[in-house]
């Protein structure tokens, strides 16, 4: 009776909202653009677009790594450590030994190899030792960052091997307004990675397996998926993606600083969660995640334009995460409140 009508209403709203909050995010981005534009007309410019692109091109790849892990029901806080480890190591390696010095491609191949190795460490802790993912990745974060700072280097490196040096100044667009704003050519591989992850999640057995594990690991096992193998694969992929994103970041800033990135995990986790991914697993999408990353980049960009001190950006991201998760949780509670647990089970069974 009432459940039926409310269910119908919920269905209509959820259609507008998109399966993973995409609709809400598009509206939020549009409202933000209009409001900020009113206060600061220079917001509506090509430069803003290029700045957001510059900001997002590495974060969106980090977000893909986090998305895969969150859909599988885990959480990863080691991805920034993997990213800076791989990015910094490639520069050190290129400078000191000349390995992969002339080709940026080779640099990325080495980064991926490093990412896979570090991902294997996560896989060992999570799939092998069955540790809770948050605690395991907190531990590996410490190990990875410690090894980099203790054994690889602690200096900020301004000189790059020639291959990456030339990539860092290869731009897709340049906007010559008041100041030159540029967008690096790496936006193209970054978009390609998102498309690839989206196709993988949607159309491959591995992708469906990742969603299934996030839904219920035991059922997935009984359905015949090799759950342990899939978990290993998830953390290998996340490691490789994080490494690519890390090298993209190091290349873009043209100053390899080993103290960077770690500590900024929440920007990416917030983007993924805002993009509709459920921390309990089994839910999430690439399109939502990309919108989440863009929204956060846009907010940070707007705060700078409006002259808000940098410290408020941290607070804003924290607040945004809480608002985003609350909104999701409230709609879930609304559903739960309408019936007792027994009714809910009957609904689920029907």
């Amino acid at each position: 009776m009432t459940t039926v009508t409310s269910a119908a209403r919920r269905f209509r709203i959820s259609r507008l909202r998109g399966s993973n909050n995409e609709g809400v995010l598009v509206v939020a981005i549009a409202v933000l653009a209009i409001v900020v534009g009113l206060f600061s007309p220079s917001f509506w410019s090509v430069a803003t677009l290029l700045n957001v692109g510059t900001n997002s091109l590495e974060n969106v790849v980090f977000a893909m790594a986090v998305l895969i892990v969150i859909i599988s029901g885990g959480i990863d806080v080691s991805f920034m450590a993997i990213g800076i480890f791989a990015g910094y190591s490639v520069i050190v390696l290129g400078n000191s030994t000349g390995i992969a010095a002339d080709s940026a491609w080779l640099g990325f191949v080495i980064a991926i190899a490093i990412g896979l190795a570090l991902g294997l460490l996560n896989a060992f802790a999570i799939a092998g030792l069955r540790l809770p993912t948050l605690i395991a990745t907190l531990g590996t974060q410490g190990i990875i960052r410690g090894v980099m700072l203790a054994f690889i280097g602690r200096k900020v490196l301004p000189t790059y091997p020639p291959g990456l040096e030339s990539l860092s100044t290869t731009y897709l667009f340049t906007d010559h307004a008041a100041i030159d704003t540029r967008l690096n050519v790496m936006i193209i591989p970054s978009i390609m990675i998102c498309v690839a992850v989206s196709l993988m999640l949607r159309y491959t057995l591995v992708g469906r397996g990742i969603f299934a594990i996030g839904g219920d690991a035991e059922s997935t096992r009984r359905a015949g998926f090799p759950v342990t193998g899939l978990r290993v694969l998830i953390y290998l992929m996340a490691g490789a993606l994080a490494a690519v994103a890390g090298l993209m970041h190091v290349t873009q800033v043209r100053l390899a600083n080993p103290y960077e990135l770690v500590g900024g995990e929440l920007d990416v986790i917030a983007a993924v969660v805002l993009g509709g991914a459920s921390i309990f697993g089994g839910k999430g999408s690439v399109s939502g995640t990309v919108l989440g990353v863009v929204l956060i980049a846009l907010i940070k960009n707007s705060l700078i334009l409006l002259g808000v001190p940098g410290a408020w950006q941290r607070a804003a991201v924290g607040a945004l995460l809480l608002i985003g998760v609350s909104a999701q949780a409230i709609s879930a509670v609304g559903r739960r409140r309408r019936g007792t647990i027994v009714q809910e089970e009957e609904e689920a069974a029907a």
Binding site: A125, R130, A315, G318
Partner: protein, 353 residues
């Protein structure tokens, strides 16, 4: 929960405490062999000053883990109480000693700790009213509060506290650091709270099985809110000690303590899925980790080596606990391992929470 796993839970405390004690003794022997001054009174005193804040933050994390959650905002909460207290000193110019200084100091500490504890209330409400998972709720408040504190202090450290305030973190009574006495008092109160009061028992029940707790008529929301209030109170106290030891307060102090506190809880055998925690274990583990830190420092290792050691310890300890739960380490060595959990109940040991 099946009979087997409750049995394991009942046997685990003693075993993990024994293992921890053995580890502590090994650490002590190894470092006293490697470094002469390790076993000196001065060294133990200096460890005592540092262990108090780590111990208090670990107790805070332990409380949240007891209910199956986690509090990642402890360091931000500590910075709130430290910054509010020191801003009050700065605003009133109370750093110059006068007759009312002790009263003002006590008052400002209470206000600072109330401010920190209020964040715990926010955490509790986010988790119970809005049903946000503890990880995300406390991650969000951690970032939000940290940003607000950096903005408030312009990223600068705040100085100017009276000597009586600094005595909390740097003074000694009969060679024993005051901070240790504070830690021990807090630990005792926490132990009494979780082991001897009805509310403490409720905490454990909610952590062991929230559904069963709800069906037995417990107000889970109330219990969880109390948990995060308690954890914030302990973190606020840690903030006061950090500020008084550093003679200043800053939003950037102690950011590495989240990992340390979780490592301590894991060393102590606290079950991150809820239901079991031991204050004794946490205190012993905090001292052990402090011995590791101080010993490594004396043999010339740096903070980054220590970070590696923490990570390895964390993974090794839980790995060891998980493997021994599965019976791999005791008695079943010769027999082939079960590849799958034997009963559906065993699926609760799955990672992914």
């Amino acid at each position: 929960m099946s009979d087997a796993s409750t049995l394991i839970q009942r046997l685990m405390p003693e075993r993990s405490l024994l293992r921890l004690a053995a580890f502590a003794i090994v650490v002590m022997i190894v470092f006293s062999v490697m470094s002469k001054p390790f076993l000196s009174v001065i060294n133990f005193q200096s460890m005592g000053f540092q262990v108090a804040e780590v111990g208090l933050l670990s107790l805070a994390v332990m409380l949240s883990m007891l209910t199956g959650g986690i509090d990642l905002s402890i360091v931000s909460i500590a910075s709130v109480s430290a910054i509010v207290t020191s801003q009050l000193f700065a605003a009133t110019g109370a750093s110059q000693s006068s007759a009312v200084t002790p009263v003002l100091t006590a008052l400002f500490i209470v206000v600072g700790m109330l401010a920190g504890t209020a964040i715990g209330l926010v955490n509790g409400l986010l988790i119970t009213r809005l049903h946000i998972t503890p990880i995300l709720a406390t991650l969000g408040t951690m970032q939000l509060i940290n940003g607000l504190m950096v903005a408030w202090t312009n990223g600068q450290a705040i100085y100017g506290m009276p000597d009586i305030f600094l005595a909390i973190g740097t003074g000694t009574v009969f060679l024993v650091p005051v901070a240790i006495i504070v830690l021990m008092a807090a630990a005792l109160l926490t132990a009494v709270f979780i082991n001897r009061t009805a509310t403490g028992l409720r905490l454990k029940l909610v952590g062991a099985n929230p559904t069963a707790a709800r069906y037995s008529g417990l107000d889970n929301d109330r219990v969880l809110t109390l948990t995060y209030l308690g954890s914030a109170l302990l973190a606020s106290l840690a903030g006061i000690i950090i500020a008084s030891r550093a003679a200043s307060a800053s939003a950037d102090y102690g950011t590495s303590y989240v990992l340390v506190a979780i490592v301590v809880c894991m060393l102590a055998g606290v079950n991150p899925n809820g239901g079991y925690a031991t204050v004794t274990g946490v205190i012993v583990a905090a001292f052990t980790l402090q011995m590791v830190a101080s010993g490594l420092n004396q043999i010339g290792w740096n903070a980054f080596h220590y970070q590696i050691v923490q990570g390895v310890l964390l993974i090794a300890v839980i790995g060891l606990n998980t493997l021994s739960d599965q019976g791999v380490l005791s008695g079943r060595l010769g027999r082939p391992r079960l590849r799958r959990p034997p009963a559906p109940g065993a699926a609760t040991s799955e990672p992914g929470s």
